[in-house]
Amino acid sequence: MGTGRLYAAVAAGGFRRYATYRVATAAGVFTNTVFGFILAYTYLALWQEKPDLGGYDQAQALTYVWVGQAMFAVMVLGSVGFEEELIERIRTGDIAVDLYRPVDLQLWWLAADMGRALFQLLGRGLVPMLCGALFFDLALPSGPLPWLACLVAVALGALVSFAIRYIVALWAFWLLDGAGAMQITWLTGVFFSGMLLPLNVFPGALGDLARVLPWSALLQAPADVLLGEADPLGTYAFQLAWAAALLAVGRLIQSAATRKVVVQGG
């Protein structure tokens, strides 16, 4: 099998794996929709108090809420994804088997995670967004071009999300227990992705800092491209730069880790 076809098959596997859990997906859609409603009403009150807060009008702010709910599962902003499994393989020593396989460890997990992200976008992203559009006045673009531009930003965001979580998982080679590292990543991710509030509402220097950190590639970037608030090409460049840097760091850690690997229970 060609390398390209191999990783495509791995990605398809990642997609199918999540597609199997239909009830769980429906439950997730329900929960994302409920949270979307609660957030939408609080944002309405906030923008009523201060219209044009952060440069968004009310419709844009509401749209941001529903983009956030759509990105929640895609970017793994409130839970854990493959990293939990990878950490477990490192902890138990199963990783040694993986390292003997004639595939690249990082690319393998990347392909599987992209399959997962695609499923989450279709399974848990579309329906809450439709519900939001039905009940609130959203600032959704009418032409296909902004949507396509947003999709590219979502794909690049998913790449950054993977790169961050891959680095976190590899720490298990040294720490052996990933719970603490995963919790810290989860906390920083929720805060700096703009899941709590759009980053342009963050005051002063905190807002400036949040805008340049990699987590802004996960939610703020796709939302701003969809809303027409950011230049797509500039956004892509920002996301690509972070993706390249973080993937390279992940690769460095990977080679350092495999050089020192001590198999548990072997």
Binding site: A27, V34, I38, K50, F191
Partner: protein, 293 residues
């Protein structure tokens, strides 16, 4: 086959001639089992004290985030839906502590779906101890004190900064809200677990009502659509955790036309919710069929 009432009579029950009839002794048995299982988990947690301290702090930090979001909002505005920061802090603090208590006591119940799926629930059924007590105390996580502590900080801030003409009734209302609110949220946890007997894979639906509910209650009811407020007042009575009694403390009218004495209803609502959740739990347990594998 899995009905608790049909389980074998045990030694403990033979000692008590009324065990077969009295709900009182069943409750007493359950509480005793709960205490013992919880104590076992606390002892095992305390074997790694540093880890306990870190996860408790993590719990504290994680739950602080929604209040940080409120603080960020108030860095831009002075009022939200006509409410000041201390007023919202009172709603936040009371609901957070109430939810934290329920989460500490029976927050592990959301694992029930997994137990139904992988068949480990069967192990609990053959033990001569009420299943509810076993599921509720399973993996008792003392680190959840972090959430309660965080809620208490916000509540303390609210009580210090609020400008209220305190009366004995209003002072009494604060512990009343926290206690009855804990009962109401506890009932939601149990009802959610009962639902998982039917939909084994749907633990996230429970999150919508537990975490979604506590997020909703952190903001004043005036923010939300009337139908939503009606729903959480009359259908799923979360409003009695803090909205109805809290607005009485703040001297503000409730957006729905409710008589003022309802502010004192939370304990009754809490007990009624627990009774209903108990019925749902028994129905769920009766419908349980093991995976059989």
């Amino acid at each position: 086959m899995a009905d608790v009432d049909e389980r074998p009579v045990t030694g403990a029950e033979r000692e008590d001639p009324f065990a077969e009839y009295g709900t009182y002794s069943r409750v007493r048995d359950g509480l005793r089992a709960y205490r013992m299982i919880a104590a076992m988990w606390i002892r095992s947690t305390m074997a790694y004290r540093a880890s306990f301290a870190m996860t408790t702090f993590g719990n504290f930090a994680a739950t602080s985030f929604d209040f940080v979001a409120i603080l960020l909002m108030f860095s831009q505005v002075d009022e939200l839906g006509g409410f000041t920061l201390p007023e919202i802090a009172l709603l936040y603090g009371t609901s957070a502590v109430a939810f934290g208590l329920a989460d500490l006591m029976i927050g592990s119940m959301d694992r029930l779906g997994r137990r139904v799926r992988d068949g480990t629930l069967d192990t609990l059924l053959v033990r001569p101890v009420p299943v509810l007590a076993q599921v509720a105390a399973d993996k008792f996580a003392l680190r959840r004190l972090g959430r309660i502590t965080q809620g208490l900080f916000v509540l303390g801030y609210a009580l210090v900064t609020l400008d209220i003409a305190w009366t004995p009734a209003k002072v009494l209302m604060i512990p009343l809200m926290v206690g009855s609110g804990g009962l109401i949220f506890g009932a939601v946890f149990v009802a959610g677990a009962a639902f998982q007997f039917v939909a084994q894979d749907a633990s996230e639906v429970q999150n919508a009502f537990t975490y979604g509910g506590v997020t909703l209650l952190q903001y004043p009811p005036a923010l939300f659509a009337k139908d939503l407020v009606r729903g959480v007042t009359f259908v799923l009575p979360l409003a009695f955790v803090n909205w109805v009694p809290g607005l009485y403390v703040l001297g503000r009218p409730y957006p729905l036309d409710l008589p003022a004495w309802l502010a004192f209803a939370p304990p009754l609502v809490g007990v009624a919710c627990c009774a209903l959740a108990g019925v749902a739990w028994r129905a769920g347990l009766r419908s349980y069929r093991s995976t059989g594998s």
